[in-house]
Assembly symmetry: C2
Homo-oligomer: 301 residues x 2
């Protein structure tokens, strides 16, 4: 699982800072999360293959999280895309994007499929054999969802040494991978767990932006390997966080601590501060395993 | 009069090329012309003061000419803008922009005034004491206007040496500046033209993008000092120009030649060519005073 930050600053795009966008590589998927203005340029810069993006998740309809979407969709068209593109985002997103494309008589040649969200409780919005995605309802000024990306447990792996040692016939291998016990030629049963290895530990990533401090998300994000939690402000500006429904670095760390996550990544920084290191300093007093998002930076689990 | 190119490449924004946007400084105005994705970042890069932009002219509703507009409008709000912003563009632009802002519950605190265009003939869309702006109907796949920016003649200037020589009383100066003749103490009339100097020559700029070769625009752009005419293709791809209603460099030069303009600026290049110098080569065989637009480049008249 690999997370690449394309942009992680709040509010407006600047020459060297970009609004929110991330790509998450998980199993064979490449998910785009949020799409601020300039995201398509960032995708090129970090050499993300456009055709691999099949699902885009939009947290909320503030400009710094979705104003790059009409341009990206249009560019896919210009590049001759044919495969489906699925967009998950708050109700209203379909009408807005559709209107922008229709005005330019630039409807896509590929299927553009909107999945509009309006549920205030967490819901499963994507699932296949390898991965599931569910919403994390957040507390912001407008309807906002974070997203929980989780690998599904893989089948147990055949222990080649064990099946050889116990002289299990090859014809049983598929059944054993699916959980069956093995049977030796003499009829002796060998337990499945002696013939197989544990599958790789499943990994999970929770994206939580934008949001005020909100303990209601704890049950959903408990024990995730990686948590991105916005920290627009430092504690010195906590009053602005309360007013605009954003979190401070200390609050993000408090959530990470209570949810016992593997690692916390901070982002969505206000550009008022002279260094983003201040966010790490503040958070690490509450939760040790903290790192700073920055445009172009990757995190692997 | 000074024109700064913020972006002049067709289709999609890339790391080092930007879609169409320009700022024109004319008298005390700073007009923004088109607003492709990333325009606000380009404005910062070239240190254009955001508050000086009071009028934005959008040629047509293809993404590479207006997808930067919602972001720019939102940024103006975040920066605490209070003064009016006027937006001139094809019918539909108001609904689209309004919808994007409403979805994010991010309506502007400053007055946002749309002037929607749908006339297929040229019309005067802005005028004050110093400058006028009129549309140049273009021939593209969707409803498109170019814009003709023209200074108005200033009042004649008082010739200080002449009024002193003819001993014209100071009380007549204002009338003379407004065209009146002078009268000496003995009653002798001195013609206005002997007491005043010609005002500076008026300057004009015609922006023509996107468009197929279209001689119908000639009467409107005749003798302009500066003509920006799109040249998406070279003659070798003229068939693509015909199909997509774009011009070639040779066609842009033909228009410049027939309109007897002072200088032609080429732009809106397709990124298929290995060098934009090819556009200048092709155009200069037809019209000598040709220059290449490029992101960040300025032209003064």
């Amino acid at each position: 699982m690999k997370l690449t930050i394309l942009g992680c600053y709040s509010a407006t795009p600047r020459t060297f800072t970009n609004p929110t966008a991330q790509v998450l590589e998980i199993r064979n998927h490449l998910f785009l999360i949020d799409c601020g203005e300039g995201t398509q340029v960032q995708l090129r810069k970090y050499k993300v293959k456009f055709s691999r993006i099949k699902h885009i998740f939009i947290s909320h309809l503030h400009g710094d999280h979705f104003f790059g979407l009409p341009g990206l969709i249009s560019t896919f068209r210009l590049l001759g895309r044919e495969s489906e593109l699925h967009i998950y985002g708050p109700k209203g997103i379909k009408q807005a994007i559709t209107l922008f494309l229709k005005l330019g008589d630039s409807w896509t040649n590929y299927p553009l499929i909107f999945h509009e969200l309006e549920n205030k409780s967490s819901e499963l919005i994507f699932e296949d054999e390898t991965v599931s995605v569910q919403t994390i309802p957040l507390d912001h000024r407008v309807y906002t969802n974070g997203f929980l990306f989780a690998e599904k447990p893989q089948a147990r792996k055949l222990d080649i040494e064990a099946v050889s040692k116990f002289k299990i016939d090859r014809s049983q291998f598929n059944n054993i991978k699916n959980g069956a016990d093995g049977v030796q030629e003499n009829g002796t049963i060998i337990r499945n767990t002696r013939l197989t290895l544990d599958p790789p530990k499943v990994k999970s990533y929770a994206f939580c932006s934008d949001t005020a401090y909100n303990e209601a998300i704890l049950p959903l994000i408990e024990n995730v390997d990686l948590l991105y939690h916005e920290s627009t402000f430092l504690e010195s500006e906590a009053h602005l966080g309360t007013k605009t429904k954003h979190a401070t670095a200390a609050q993000a760390a408090e959530i990470a601590h209570k949810a016992k996550v593997g690692k916390l990544i901070l982002g969505h920084y206000s550009t008022r501060y002279k260094s983003i290191d201040l966010f790490k300093e503040e958070a690490s007093r509450v939760f040790e395993a903290v790192e700073l998002a920055d445009d172009g930076k990757s995190f692997e689990v």
